[in-house]
C-alpha cells in the first residue's frame, strides 16, 4: 500500500469516526483495548494492553488516532492495562463466538463473497438456535465482523465466570463434537425392565428425534417395498431388520414418538446411529473454537471500521438478521456520497453497495465505498490528484 493511499484511508476513517455512534460494550473501563494503526510496511503493529484510562473516551480516541482496526477484550480485569494476564487479574469474560467464512466446511474457494457470507449467515442462525433454545441465553449481541463473518457476544451472568474447560464444553455442544448415539441414548426403568430411550425434550436428542420422525414420515409416504428398500440403504440394516423397523412404524408408532428405541429392535437403533451422524453434520454450527475458549480474547469493536474491507462492523438486531445484507447494510454512510479515482491493481468482479462492478487493471472513477473497499483489500491504490 502506497503512502498516499494510507494517508487517504486514515483521513477518511477519521471522518467516519467523528460521526459514528459506537455505544461501547458494558464495563468498557474494565476491558483491555487494542488497535492496529496505519503503519507502513508489512507486519502490522498491534498496540495492546490499553485501558480506557490510557486511551480516554473511546469515541474521542478513535477520531484522533483513526486506527486501521480496533478491538476490545471479552474479559474484564482489575487492571486491564497491565502487560501480563496474571497482573491484569481476571474478573469475568463474555462468551464470544466467531463464525468465519474461511473456516466453514460448507464453503468452497470458488464461492463468491456473497455466497460465502450467505453460508455464514445460515450457520449464524443455527448457532443462535442453540444459544437461545438450548442454552436459554438472553443477552446476545450479533455483529457482522466487517469482513467474512459474524460475531456473537453473550453477556448473561451464567457465562461470566466460566473457565476455559467449561467454555470448551459449549464449543463441543454447538459443533456436535463427541456427539454419539451411545452418549445420547439413555436408559429408563419401565416397570421392571430397562428401556433404551432417545431424549425427546431437549439437546441434540431432540434434534435427532425430530429427524427420526421426519424419516419415519418419509417411509410412511412410500409403499412397503420402497420403504424396505430405503431402510436397507443404511449400513447395518438388512432385510430382516428393515422389516422389524417397518413393522414398528406400522404397529407401534407411538413408541417411536416417545423416543423408545426398544420397540424397533436392533434395526431401529442402527437407524438412530446413522441419523446421529447425519444430524450432527447438518445442524452443527462450525464456530472457530479458540475464540470461544479464550477468556482473554480481543474482538473487533461493533461500530468500528474493518481496515481490511472499509466496511463497518455492524451490530445486527435479532429481528433484522434474516433481512441483513452485509454487502449493502455494512457500507458506511460516510463513503456513499461521492466518487473517487483509484488505480486498480487487481481487477475482477465486485459486488458491493447494491451494485455490481467489473474492473480492469487501470484507473477508475468509482463510488467512494468501492474505492475504499479495494484499497483496504490491497487491490487498488489511491489515484494521483
Amino acid at each position: 500500500m502506497e503512502e498516499r493511499t494510507r494517508a487517504y484511508l486514515r483521513g477518511r476513517f477519521g471522518d467516519y469516526y467523528r460521526r459514528a455512534d459506537l455505544s461501547p460494550p458494558p464495563d468498557a473501563n474494565e476491558r483491555e483495548w487494542g488497535y492496529v494503526p496505519w503503519t507502513e510496511g508489512p507486519g502490522a503493529t498491534y498496540v495492546r494492553h490499553n485501558s480506557l484510562l490510557d486511551l480516554g473516551d473511546i469515541e474521542t480516541f478513535l477520531a484522533r488516532e483513526r486506527p486501521r482496526h480496533v478491538y476490545f477484550s471479552a474479559g474484564r480485569y482489575r487492571d486491564p492495562s497491565a502487560s501480563t494476564m496474571s497482573e491484569k487479574s481476571w474478573l469475568s469474560s463474555d462468551l464470544v463466538f466467531d463464525l468465519d467464512a474461511d473456516h466453514l466446511p460448507a464453503t468452497s474457494p470458488e464461492d463468491t463473497y456473497r455466497e460465502m457470507l450467505a453460508t455464514c449467515k445460515d450457520a449464524l442462525l443455527r448457532l443462535l438456535d442453540f444459544l437461545e433454545r438450548d442454552f436459554g441465553f438472553e443477552d446476545l449481541t450479533v455483529a457482522f465482523s466487517g469482513s467474512r463473518g459474524y460475531h456473537v457476544h453473550v453477556r448473561d451472568e451464567a457465562v461470566q465466570y466460566l473457565e476455559r474447560d467449561a467454555r470448551r464444553e459449549i464449543v463441543d455442544y454447538v459443533r456436535a463434537t463427541g456427539l454419539t448415539a451411545e452418549g445420547l441414548v439413555g436408559t429408563e426403568m419401565r416397570e421392571t425392565v430397562t428401556v433404551r430411550v432417545l431424549p425427546t425434550d431437549g439437546g441434540w436428542g431432540r434434534r435427532v428425534h425430530e429427524r427420526l420422525l421426519e424419516f419415519v414420515a418419509e417411509l410412511e409416504a412410500m409403499d412397503r417395498e420402497a420403504a424396505l428398500a430405503r431402510l436397507q440403504e443404511l449400513e447395518g440394516i438388512g432385510e430382516g431388520r428393515a422389516r422389524t423397523v417397518y413393522g414398528t412404524i406400522q404397529n407401534n408408532r407411538e413408541a417411536i414418538e416417545r423416543g423408545n428405541l426398544e420397540a424397533g429392535g436392533v434395526g431401529l437403533r442402527t437407524l438412530v446411529d446413522s441419523l446421529v451422524g447425519e444430524v450432527a453434520a447438518a445442524e452443527n454450527a462450525p464456530i472457530d473454537e479458540p475464540v470461544t475458549t479464550d477468556t482473554n480474547r480481543l474482538i473487533r469493536l461493533p461500530g468500528s471500521l474493518h481496515g481490511g474491507s472499509g466496511l463497518a462492523v455492524r451490530r445486527v438486531p435479532r429481528g433484522d438478521i434474516e433481512a441483513f445484507d452485509p454487502l449493502v447494510d455494512a457500507v458506511p454512510e460516510t463513503f456513499r456520497s461521492h466518487d473517487i479515482t483509484v488505480e486498480v491493481t487487481d481487477g475482477g468482479r465486485v459486488e458491493l453497495g447494491g451494485d455490481s462492478f467489473t474492473l480492469q487493471e487501470r484507473e477508475h472513477t468509482v463510488p467512494e465505498y468501492l474505492g475504499v473497499f479495494l484499497m483496504c483489500r490491497g487491490r487498488a491504490e489511491k489515484g494521483k490528484e
Binding site: 433454545r133 438450548d134 436459554g136 470448551r168 431437549g202 439437546g203 436428542g205
Partner: protein, 355 residues
Amino acid sequence: MQPLHARYPFLSAAREAVQTAGVDLAAVVADEPAVVERALGRVEGALQEGTVGEPHRRTRVELLSYPVARVLVSVVDEHVLVHKYARAEAATAHERFSEELAADTDLRSTRAATLRLADLLAEFDLDGAVRETPEGYRVGVGAYLQHAADQWGEEWRLVNRELQDGEVPLTEAELLVLLRQAVRHRVEEGLPLDVPDSVATHLEGHTDRVEELLAELELTRDIDTVVPDLFPPCMQHLLDRIQKGEHLEHHSRFAIASFLTSIGMSTDDIVEMFQVNPGFGEEVTRYQVNHIRGATSPTEYSPPSCATMQSYGDCVNMDDLCEEISHPMGYYEAKLDDTEEEELVDWRERQESKS
C-alpha cells in the same frame, strides 16, 4: 466445633467454628501430634485409597486435621498431590452426604446436626441454579458447566445432555456427583497455601512420608520402549530369576510385572518374556498382569519405588545411576535418554523377526 463440622470440614461453618475457637494452626502443628497424625492419615488415604480414611474419634482432632492436611499438601507442593487430595476429600464427603441424605426420610431430618440437600446447595451457591422437578432436578447450564466440565465420563459431556432453556436435567444421584465436584473444587481452592517456614519445619517427617508415597505412585511419562539391557539392576535381576525358573515371592513378581506394564508391554509380551523357562505358570502371570493393568481390578498399579524395593530386599547390584534416582522407572528413563535412538532395539521387534 460440632460433629457436623468434623464430618464436613470444608463447609464455611466449619471454617468459622475453627476461627471462633481462636485456633492457631502453627501452635496446633507444634503441640498437637494427634492432629498432625490424623492430617497425615488424610493425605495417605488420599494417595492410597482415594478417600481420607477413618475419622478420629475426637471432633476437635478430626476437624483440625483438615486445615493441617491442607498445609501438609502445600508444603509438598506437587500438582498431582493437590489433585488426588482434593478428589479424596470430595469422595469421602460424597459418601457421607449420600448416606445421610438417603436416611433423610426418617425423623433425623429435623435434627440440626444433619446436613440437608438444601444446605449443601446453598453452601456452593447452587440454590438459585437448581430446582426440583417430578423427574429429578434441573440445573442451570452455567452452574452445571462450572462443576461438570472436569468430571470424567461421556455422560457428563454437555453435548450428550438434554439441555433445554438453559437447564440440564439431572437425577438425584447425578446431582450428588455434581456436589462432589463442588467439594473438590472448594478443597482445591487456594492450594498450595503459603506456609511459613516455622510451620513447615515441624512437619518435616510427615512431608517425607508423603513424598515417599508420591514417588511410589509417580505417574511416569509414557514409555513404550522395551530394551532389557537398559533395565535397572533390580529388574534385570528379577527377570533373570524368573527366566531361570525360580519361584518369586508375590511382591517381587508384582514389582517386575508392574514395571514391564509401565514401559508399554502387553500381557502377551510379558508372558512371552517370562516363558523362557517352561516351568513358569502362564495362567498366574496372565491373571497378575491383567490385575496390575487394571483389567480385572478398579485400580491401575504403578511399580514400587526404590525405597519399597529396598525394604523387600529386591534392591540389588546398585550402580552409580541408582544413587541419583528414587524410582526404577527413573533409572530406565535416564538410560533411554542417554542412548542414541538408532541404538535402541526394541525387544518386541526382535521377537517379531524371530517368528
